[in-house]
């Protein structure tokens, strides 16, 4: 079930990129994006053909491959009859997918969000990295403005490493690393601080410490050739970076995968990644660390 020994393996480089192929609107654009990225990363494409295997459906898919210029000779093709999160994740695991590319809408309706769509469902449970594209293009999306979450977490160094790798491959020149500092908890702890100056100095020290921490991680990621900016902002984790990415006009937001599988309770009491899934500010890359060490 783990043919390439994925557990403990670095989340990059991307050697196998998975993409779902269906007859629904937007499928061609995602396929084109996947082909474009596979080419850039030198990865093999796994075409996950959605539906029951029939000659008619295969012909329809072949037409799509032809229109999008997909090199099916070098790609692997598999059928997926059952359109469930579990079935898709099992398939990805069996085929050692490093990156799964999905099209998703920016914001889902309340009912759909709480019930959980396939794309959002996979985001909450995936064991491989995911690229959620809000507006896939036949010509390929340009990733110029990349933001990475630098939240204080053991996974962040791998996420940052993946972001640097991604940025270099797609030809981006800059990465903004943004770390969020939990404001409400800090406010509670500083409620009886002596003076305004004490509080200001404390906040400045926290920001300084965070920037230094990020700086230390960045240096290990070989960011040569990329302009790296680091920023620490106070606010609610997940929500603040979402707003930041939107205001910044980011093309891609890179975040850690959740530590545990998210469920309905995480949607009711929204936190961290759920704030981003609730209303995607741009394309999102969720990096799964696979418990590896940087």
């Amino acid at each position: 079930m783990d043919p390439r020994g994925l557990k403990g393996r670095s989340p990059f480089p991307f050697e196998m990129i998975g993409v779902m192929v269906s007859l629904s609107a937007g499928s061609e654009e995602v396929l084109a994006e996947a082909g474009y990225l596979a080419n850039i990363f030198g990865a093999r494409l796994l075409l996950i053909q959605m539906g029951k295997q029939t000659t008619k459906l295969q012909t329809a898919f072949d037409t799509i491959y032809e229109r999008t210029g997909t090199n099916i000779q070098e790609a692997a093709r598999v059928w997926l009859e059952e359109m469930t999160v579990k079935a898709l994740l099992t398939l990805c695991k069996e085929h050692s997918v490093d990156l799964l590319i999905l099209e998703t809408i920016q914001r889902e309706g309340v009912l759909r969000y709480y019930l959980g769509s396939l794309a959002r469902g996979i985001s909450r449970a995936a064991k491989c990295s995911l690229l959620l594209l809000t507006e896939p293009k036949v010509g390929g999306t340009t990733f110029r403005k990349i933001i990475v979450s630098g939240v204080s977490h053991p996974k962040t160094s791998l996420t940052l490493g993946t972001a640097v790798y991604f940025a270099k491959q797609v030809g981006a020149h800059a990465i903004a690393i943004v770390t969020e500092l939990d404001q409400p908890t800090l406010s509670m702890a500083t409620a009886d601080m002596s003076t305004v100056d004490t509080l200001t100095n404390l906040k400045q020290q926290i920001v300084k410490d965070e920037i230094e921490r990020i700086h230390g991680i960045v240096e290990c990621c070989h960011p040569e050739g990329l302009k790296i900016t680091e920023e620490a902002i106070f606010g609610r984790l997940g929500y603040t970076i979402r707003q930041y990415a939107r205001n910044y006009g980011a093309d891609l937001l890179v975040i850690n995968s959740p530590d545990a599988k998210y469920g309905i309770i995480d949607r009711i009491f929204t936190h961290d990644m759920e704030y981003i899934l609730e209303d995607l500010p741009c394309n999102v890359l969720i990096v799964h660390s696979r418990n590896s060490r940087h």
Binding site: Q183, S187, M188, A189, D192, F234, R236, I265, T270, Y275
Partner: protein, 416 residues
């Protein structure tokens, strides 16, 4: 309608200003010695109250705080103190972020459950089997045991947050686990305490108890699910269309008092409504930090000193000091909490020393314990000696928490 005479009103205002000014002076002085503000406020209450001023200069004490001789002033002060406790619980709710518990997952759940279950059980068992040690009548054994268990299981989130900040471990794994577990402790503790207060009193049958449980759960679920969704829709509108910060403050404080009135009406204590309203509003990502800060500062610097000074005004700490009760309370509080939290953290995978640091971090009871004890004293659930012991325990656990945490963290580092 009876009104306060101009003279009574002047005494009422003088009493409040004396409490505010002296508690601030005490707090600033206490800070120089590293004491929590609440300690200084209680000490000021002890000085102004029957313990010292009432003994040394009873005529000044009776003139300034005429609880016994002037019903009008006494009622006005009591009403103000009741409002203060409601506002304190509202702010306690504002500080709880359920998302922090979900973020920490298994570690927070295990530690949170351990740090609640063990102290609750140890407190309950001691109070159930030997109520005579506390001077409690056997007929009130169950309610007292429930209260004592709850009092042992609660933690003081603001004190803990401050300790973590001072130790510079606020954003470490230990810090995050301690905060998340304290949130769980507080939430469960106040739910349980509201239940105990609701079932306390004569002629409470099984039906009353089951109704109380249903009301508490239904109100909590309604406010934390439906209420939060509604607030998340209203808050952004208010912030962009009404005066700032007046609009948000009016909505928040109005919702707090409305919920408090509702829970009081359905025979659950008003503090419960205020607390749950605080959780629902505080959890909203649309509540701007400035608005949260204004509410926090107003309550911390106006209502909190009044409330904590009033504790010293109502109780004679020397007369009601009972060594046996104090020792029992301290032993049960330390062993139950530290053992439970450490065990929970260990089961979730923490190292022994880190788990012990978490245990001592969660041991701080601070202001939360004092509020709990004060409400129980008002309700007649406990006696003054037990209350005095709880106050001492709250102060001792808060003061010892930081050095003990530090000790185990240093030992952990040495081992590494």
């Amino acid at each position: 309608m009876s009104k306060l005479t101009p003279n009574d009103f002047a005494i009422f205002l003088l009493a409040i200003s004396t409490m505010l000014i002296l508690s601030r002076a005490g707090a600033e002085l206490g800070k120089k010695f590293g004491l929590p503000i609440v300690t200084a406020e209680i000490v000021v209450g002890v000085i102004l109250g029957p313990t010292l001023l009432g003994n040394i200069a009873p005529h000044i004490y009776n003139r300034l705080f005429p609880f016994a001789s002037n019903a009008g002033v006494s009622l006005a002060l009591d009403s103000l103190f009741s409002l203060a406790v409601i506002m304190l619980l509202f702010v306690a709710g504002l500080e709880l972020q359920l998302s922090q518990v979900l973020r920490q997952g298994k570690l927070a759940v295990f530690t949170g459950l351990g740090s609640m279950a063990a102290p609750f059980l140890s407190g309950f068992v001691v109070a159930w089997f030997v109520p005579q040690w506390f001077g409690i009548d056997r007929s009130n054994q169950f309610q007292f045991a429930m209260f004592f268990g709850t009092a042992m299981s609660i933690s003081a989130l603001p004190v803990i947050a401050r300790i973590l900040l001072d130790l510079n471990i606020f954003r470490t794994e230990i810090g995050r686990v301690v905060i998340a577990s304290a949130i769980l402790n507080d939430l469960a503790g106040w739910l349980l305490f509201s239940f105990i207060l609701s079932i306390w009193g004569p002629e409470k049958g099984i039906t009353d108890i089951s109704h109380t449980i249903i009301y508490i759960l239904a109100f909590s679920v309604f406010m934390l699910v439906i209420g939060r969704i509604v607030l998340n829709r209203i808050l952004p509108w208010i912030q962009s269309n009404l005066s700032w910060p007046g609009g948000v403050l009016s909505l928040s404080l109005g919702t707090c008092l409305l919920c408090a009135a509702f829970t009081e009406y359905i025979h659950i204590h008003a503090i419960f409504g205020a607390f749950i309203a605080g959780v629902a509003i505080g959890d909203s990502v649309h509540l701007e930090e400035k608005a949260r800060d204004i509410m926090h500062q107003f309550v911390t610097n106006f209502f909190a000193p009044l409330f904590f000074v009033s504790i010293g005004l109502r109780v004679d700490f020397i007369q009601h000091f009972n060594v046996l009760i104090v020792v029992i309370v301290l032993v049960v509080a330390f062993t139950g909490k530290v053992f439970g939290a450490t065990l929970g953290a260990r089961l979730a995978g923490m190292t022994r020393r880190s788990a012990l640091a978490v245990g001592f971090g969660l041991n701080a009871r601070g202001a939360v314990e004092i509020i709990l004890g004060s409400l129980a004293l008002d309700a007649g659930l406990i006696t003054q000696p037990i209350f005095v012991a709880l106050v001492i325990m709250a102060l001792v656990t808060s003061i010892t928490s930081a050095p003990l945490m530090l000790y185990f963290m240093q030992r952990e580092q040495e081992e590494e």
